[in-house]
């Protein structure tokens, strides 16, 4: 009985929103950022919504709902009405890794959400402490094979994109190391610079400055192509290591069941903002590449990422201990 009531109510909600689709947008749009202000998702959300504002006609209000690597805010999006007045900007962690890592997650991006677009991405790069006596990725891999389970791999935390990249790297090269998790990228980078940890996979944008100043060594880039800023650093593919294309990305998502017309309006506005030169400039300075793919591409991409990381998590046996 209760289920039937819920079904009827959600039907009514869908019909209701469909009836109003041609007026969309007629009210504030809430943009949930499931992280604290100041992070990459927050920056992406604020940069894009600011540029959207002029043409969109209604205010877009960023609401930070931090907690559990984005799970608290994402659960709220999953519960929200699919009327186009609640959307979310979140990271690879929230959309791609959490579902691979936690069975008890209060949301599933494939079931409860539909993607609007993957807005921006930045590749992860392999960096080492400046004093480590290796000149190339080949030398590092040789060293890791010589002394298994000794080198310290710093990461931003258990289940972070850089942790899983390290895990993937070990799996693809047949090497091993000690995973040293930190609470966030900043502390992990500090200990690499200070020489308290040996190796790390970090976002290109976050470590580019350190590499230029010689405070870290960059040995390889987990992208499809070399970065124009660091033309001497090879990709993993060039080194003969397959499956090591890892980007940290930020995507716009909405609750499942969005009216097609509303979705088109939203995606059009987001893409329009991402094409603006000043927005492109901002992201370029941060080492981000604007992707702006279609909703269908974004949905497929997120599903692929979840599948891929589920495998890495399983092979590396990294479900959080209880």
């Amino acid at each position: 009985m209760f289920m039937r009531f819920v079904a009827a109510a959600s039907c009514a909600a869908v019909l209701g929103s469909a009836a109003l689709a041609q007026d969309y947008p007629s009210d504030n749009v809430t943009v949930i950022v499931p992280f604290a202000p100041g992070g990459a998702s927050d920056t992406t959300a604020r940069t894009v919504t600011q540029a959207m504002q002029a043409d969109f006609g209604q205010p877009l209000v960023v609401e930070n709902k931090p907690g559990a690597n984005g799970a608290v805010g994402a659960a709220e999006l999953a519960r929200a009405k699919p009327d186009g007045y609640t959307i979310m900007v979140a990271s690879i962690g929230t959309y791609g890794i959490n579902p691979a890592l936690r069975a008890d997650l209060p949301y599933d991006p494939r079931e409860d959400m539909e993607m609007l677009t993957v807005a921006v991405r930045t590749p992860n790069v392999l960096v080492t402490r400046p004093t480590l006596e290796v000149k190339s990725a080949e030398e590092l891999i040789a060293m890791l094979k010589e002394q298994p389970d000794t080198m310290l791999f710093a990461s931003s935390g258990v289940g972070s994109s850089d942790h899983l990249t390290a895990e993937l790297f070990w799996q693809q090269t047949g090497t091993s190391g000690i995973h040293v998790p930190y609470s966030g990228g900043g502390p992990a980078q500090t200990d690499i610079i200070g020489g308290h940890a040996d190796v790390s996979f970090q976002n290109l944008g976050a470590v580019a400055g350190f590499v230029r100043e010689g405070q870290m060594k960059m040995l390889a880039i987990a992208a499809a192509e070399r970065s124009p800023d660091f033309p001497d650093v090879p990709t993993f593919k060039e080194l003969g290591i397959e499956g090591m294309e890892v980007y940290s990305w930020q995507a716009f998502g909405a609750p499942k069941g969005l009216d097609p017309a509303v979705k088109e309006t939203l995606v059009g506005a987001i893409h329009g903002a991402l094409e603006k030169p000043e927005v492109q400039e901002t992201f370029k300075n941060l080492g981000f590449e604007v992707l702006a793919n279609t909703p269908a591409e974004a949905d497929a991409f997120v599903a692929d990422e979840i599948a891929r990381w589920s495998e890495v998590v399983k092979a590396g046996n990294i479900t959080p201990e209880e």
Binding site: A36, G67, V158, P187
Partner: protein, 501 residues
């Protein structure tokens, strides 16, 4: 001298009309919002962050820095007047500052805080201007072992901090340490004591515990005897410190500035420790340690200076390395990123106007803070003579809004209510809330650094003593604990002898 040219560039930037205006506006807004109970510097900066988006990078960061020290000073004001610390460093200010306020010396406590902060801020700014790149290497010398030793020292300092029974102080620290464990374990990702709630996955916010245990707990115990409270607070004496007071606060301010400047550089939680390290030091060197906890001037002057010096030098790792040492610095980095500037080691070369403009404006901002706040002291003091029946519902209201704004959710309000009950009952049992909060702040860092150190050294305990920095810090901690235990043991022995007689 290249530095003089750089400073001149900074002066030109900081003294431009708009930068001065936005600095003043930042200091003013920061103070005005930071003074509201429940809204600490992090919440204030987060709320005002969007205001700066339309400004040029240097103006935005100058304004945010102004908001930061304004909010910090505003927070000290609340800690002194109504015993409500909005962040970990003002827990210490609340201890003696609030006691001074209860004795009718609120004005003196506030003026001491303002003057101490200004002196410390000025000295720390000079340090940054001349030694920033050099000092950032100090930050890099601290690895997991050194940070663990520092946290042990912090723990020892929090034992010194307690004024009542040693047993209860240790009990409350342990209770705080345990509360700090709630949330996701950094080393394994395991959820601990979260009872399946994702809202607890990142742990409990400091503000929730502080507003509950300090804020609501204090209100409940004040409501027991309202009559006493009103009469005490209307006897306001000595709005300004006397010449003798000023002389007496010079040494604590100097020591506090030194401690705060050094600890503030360390991004792994050093700035947080500066105010209670200073308090412990003042209590140790004082000729009248029994005064501490009952309204000692040095117990306000030292920690406030340390706090402000630490706040200034915590900009060093942010500016020279792009590494946030506290949540406020993380917001600053976010603000720079929004302006399209990736903070990092190249900021000094690539953005000289921003870097030197900010440094000069720090001193300007501190001066504005002093000029703005000394005349306001009279108003603040009047504010607490408002009948308590009107005052406390307003405090409750600000706590509600402030706690809501942490994660924009009502979950934290439920928790605050729970901690309010706990705070009241603990007060009834003479258990001091300050050690609880310090344990709460230190707990997660203590565990994280210890376990990381053990991981990195593959379980070798001797590594704590082979690192010179860590060995020295641990030795100081041991001496500190011994100096606390010695009198207690002596007293026990005397007691035992008396029983025999």
């Amino acid at each position: 001298m290249e530095i003089l040219g750089d400073l001149w560039l900074g002066v030109q930037t900081a003294f431009s009309f708009w930068n001065l205006t936005y600095c003043l506006l930042g200091v003013f807004l920061g103070t005005a919002i930071g003074v509201l109970p429940g809204l600490g510097p992090t919440a204030t900066v987060a709320m005002l962050l969007p205001v700066t988006f339309g400004l040029s990078p240097e103006t935005a960061i100058i304004m945010l820095a102004g908001i930061f020290y304004g909010a910090q000073y505003g927070g000290s004001t609340t800690a002194i007047l109504v015993n409500l610390p909005g962040e970990s460093s003002s827990v210490v200010t609340a201890i003696d500052g609030y006691q001074m306020a209860r004795q009718g010396q609120a004005g003196k406590a506030l003026a001491t805080a303002a003057i101490g902060s200004f002196i410390a801020g000025s000295i720390a700014t000079v340090l940054i201007a001349f030694f920033a790149p050099l000092l950032s290497s100090v930050a890099l010398a601290f690895g997991p072992h050194e940070y663990f030793a520092l946290m042990v020292l912090g723990l020892a300092a929090s034992v010194v901090l307690a004024s009542g029974s040693l047993l209860h102080a240790v009990g409350m620290i342990l209770f705080g340490l345990i509360l700090g464990l709630i949330g996701t374990d950094v080393q394994t990702g395991a959820m601990r004591f979260t009872f399946g709630s994702f809202e607890l996955a990142d742990g409990i916010s400091f503000v929730v515990v502080a507003m509950g245990v300090f804020g609501l707990g204090e209100i409940l115990s004040n409501l027991e005897n309202e009559a006493d409270r009103t009469t005490v607070l209307t006897k306001v004496t000595g709005l300004m410190p006397t010449r003798a007071d000023l002389r007496a606060m010079l040494a604590p301010v100097g020591r506090g500035t030194a401690l705060g400047s050094v600890l503030g550089i360390l991004p792994g939680g050093g700035a947080m420790l500066s105010s209670f390290a200073s308090y412990a030091l003042e209590k140790k060197v004082s000729k009248t340690p029994q005064q501490f906890g009952k309204g000692a001037l040095a117990g306000v002057a030292g920690p406030e200076a340390a706090n402000n010096a630490g706040a200034q030098t915590s900009f060093i790792p942010m500016l020279t390395l792009g590494i946030p040492s506290n949540p406020v610095m993380a917001l600053m980095i976010g603000a720079l990123i929004m302006q399209g500037i990736q903070p990092g080691p190249s900021v000094i070369q690539d953005q000289p106007v921003l870097f030197w403009g900010l440094i000069v404006s720090m001193w300007v901002g501190n001066l504005m803070l002093l000029v703005l706040n000394l005349p306001l002291i009279g108003i603040w003091v009047k504010m607490i003579s408002i009948p308590y029946g009107y005052l406390f519902p307003c405090i409750v209201a600000f706590c509600l809004i402030g706690v809501f704004s942490l994660a924009n959710s009502t979950f934290d309000i439920w928790l605050m209510g729970l901690f309010g009950v706990a705070g009241y009952i603990l007060r009834k049992l003479d258990c001091e809330p300050a050690p609880l909060l310090l344990g709460f702040v230190l707990g997660p860092m203590l565990e994280e650094h210890l376990r990381r150190a053990m991981l990195v050294s593959r379980g070798d305990v001797t590594s704590f003593f082979t690192s010179p920095i860590s060995a020295v810090l641990l030795l100081v901690a041991a001496l500190l604990i011994a100096s606390v235990l010695a009198p207690a043991i002596r007293a026990k022995r005397e007691e035992a002898f008396q029983d025999e007689d």
